[in-house]
Symmetry: C2
Subunit: 324 residues, 2 copies
């Protein structure tokens, strides 16, 4: 069970203030026009290592004892690179267990940030078993999301957003394991006025939506989604915090995710990975279902990261231009 | 012949200050590591209408007399959209002559910003003839680059950059017609310390390099380059300013341009169009030729725009993911 209270986020944020980037908020008249509401995009693709994950990883590493010999984790990628970077900045080694299906760029990013990659089968069990082996060798486990240190660190993103945009009605964040979403719910709870918090989840990896509906953590989970960062199972602490703060979930299909990704690239000129575009997809779906209810709402939307393999896209572009 | 002096840029900048975005400067440890110098990226893809062109267009429109009935221009796209937007903000119609080969997104952008598109053959002669027809009907021609109002407006980009990064050794800007590059040369000349100015040009559209080498404006020009924004012939005023300020040109091939575009997307998380990546390609080539000479140099690099068709790239991404 999470021991976190909303005010704990303030101390966490102070701990990592020197390490992280206060990411900018961007707006797009074109997207506001399409959706009929006023959207503030929190740009975590511009965070160190290209995703919000560096916030939680930096916080967890900042709390390690000086006797710690190193860290270990499992990750589809962004947490791994973030942890490797945070550990390296403290002079510590990092072992990262990654599914064989991980995006190549994310594997490279772990290595570029000084981490050692260990591949495993693409299942939750294999990931956890892989991590356990390193813990038994004396490395400190820094799980990707089901961890109060991580949740508190991720919450700094919404704390910043709420300061940057003072009049938000709602914040939408993507949910995979739930570190970012639980941290966002805690951050929103500190605000004197009600800010609704909504999680955005791929329908092919909708264990969070199912868990909240069922009232317990649904663990049959074979995620299939283009949003590789959201293929994890929601964490226990994370789910409990979502229940406590009455977070709602909107699920979106693959086409909606890719369309939102294209809109972010086109209108914001920001490279956002599929997971990073899921919140925009959820907003578009919500607006489509209830345009009047959403008209004029002030929406904070977390673009969670921007790490994806660009080379095949450039090759496509080259071919298209050569064929003209 | 251009009547412009460096200090004229200050008045131009003041005229458009309320209209334009002071675009951010971004940095990338990864790119600095690859190149061995310290690069400040001036992010004009985040300018209104997605390119630096809005600076010059806004300036030209700000100088129109109240009796003006409307404006006209020829453009491969970004100037057209920028002029349409600037004209609309003054309540004026804009007629934009575009080559049939123009990127669809750029055609749409002209229309979305309130301009009327007229297609022509993809040659310099056809573009100029198309424009002349509208001028004869009483619309004020706002040429895309060979115009002091435009050059002075584009110069505001480098003025900002020099303020944002006080210790630049060199600025690299792309060159098509030369509005941005000539404006950059004027801006750099205002600085008390020498700032070298380099133009970056596709080798398939290298009329500026050839003109500077020949000492006169080379007009046989059949541009073939993926950098659609740079397919124009360098302007007379623009060339004269480059000669006056001893601007050098680096030419880059198509693969170098596309590789640089991929690097900008990957490391900066910024959607930069091919023309927008040409300056980075030129820097990479210069560093490759003389790594010691460039080591540690402080380089300002103008990412000129971010308008390209994203949909085919998203389709590629979808297919690649479905095939896995």
């Amino acid at each position: 069970m999470s021991q976190l209270e909303p005010d704990d986020l303030v101390a966490a944020r102070k701990k990592i203030a020197e390490k992280i980037v206060t990411t900018p908020v961007m707006r797009s008249d074109a997207i506001d026009g399409l959706l009929g509401c006023r959207v503030a995009f929190k740009c975590e693709q511009l965070q160190v290592t290209g995703s919000f994950k560096f916030r939680g990883a930096s916080h967890a590493v900042s709390l390690l004892e000086d006797s710690c010999q190193g860290v270990a984790t499992h990750s589809s990628g962004n947490h791994g690179a973030a942890l490797a970077r945070a550990a390296r900045e403290r002079g510590l080694p990092a072992h990262v267990v990654m599914p064989e299906s991980a995006v190549k760029l994310k594997v490279d990013a772990v290595r570029r940030n000084g981490g050692t990659v260990h591949f495993c089968a693409p299942t939750q069990e294999a990931r956890e078993a892989g991590l356990q082996a390193w813990v038994e060798q004396g490395f400190e486990a820094i799980p990707p999301y089901d961890d109060d240190r991580i949740i508190a660190g991720q919450g700094s993103c919404a704390l910043e957003l709420i300061e940057q945009v003072s009049d938000l009605d709602v914040i939408i964040a993507p949910v995979g394991g739930g570190g970012l979403l639980a941290g966002t719910a805690l951050a929103a709870a500190r605000h004197p006025h009600k800010i609704e918090v909504i999680g955005a989840e791929p329908s092919g990896a909708d264990d969070t939506a199912r868990s909240l509906a069922a009232g317990y953590r649904v663990t049959e989970h074979q995620p299939t989604t283009v949003a590789d960062g959201l293929r994890a199972l929601v964490g226990e602490r994370n789910l409990a915090l979502m229940q406590r703060f009455r977070v709602k979930i909107i699920t979106v299909d693959e086409n909606q995710i890719l369309r939102a990704m294209g809109q972010a690239w086109t209108h914001l000129k920001q490279v956002v990975e599929p997971s990073g575009a899921v919140a925009l997809a959820a907003l578009a779906l919500a607006v489509e279902a209830d345009p009047d209810g959403w008209a004029g709402r002030r929406v904070g939307l977390i673009l969670s990261g921007g790490n994806l393999d660009i080379d095949p896209l450039i090759d496509t572009y080259r071919s298209a231009m050569t064929d003209r």
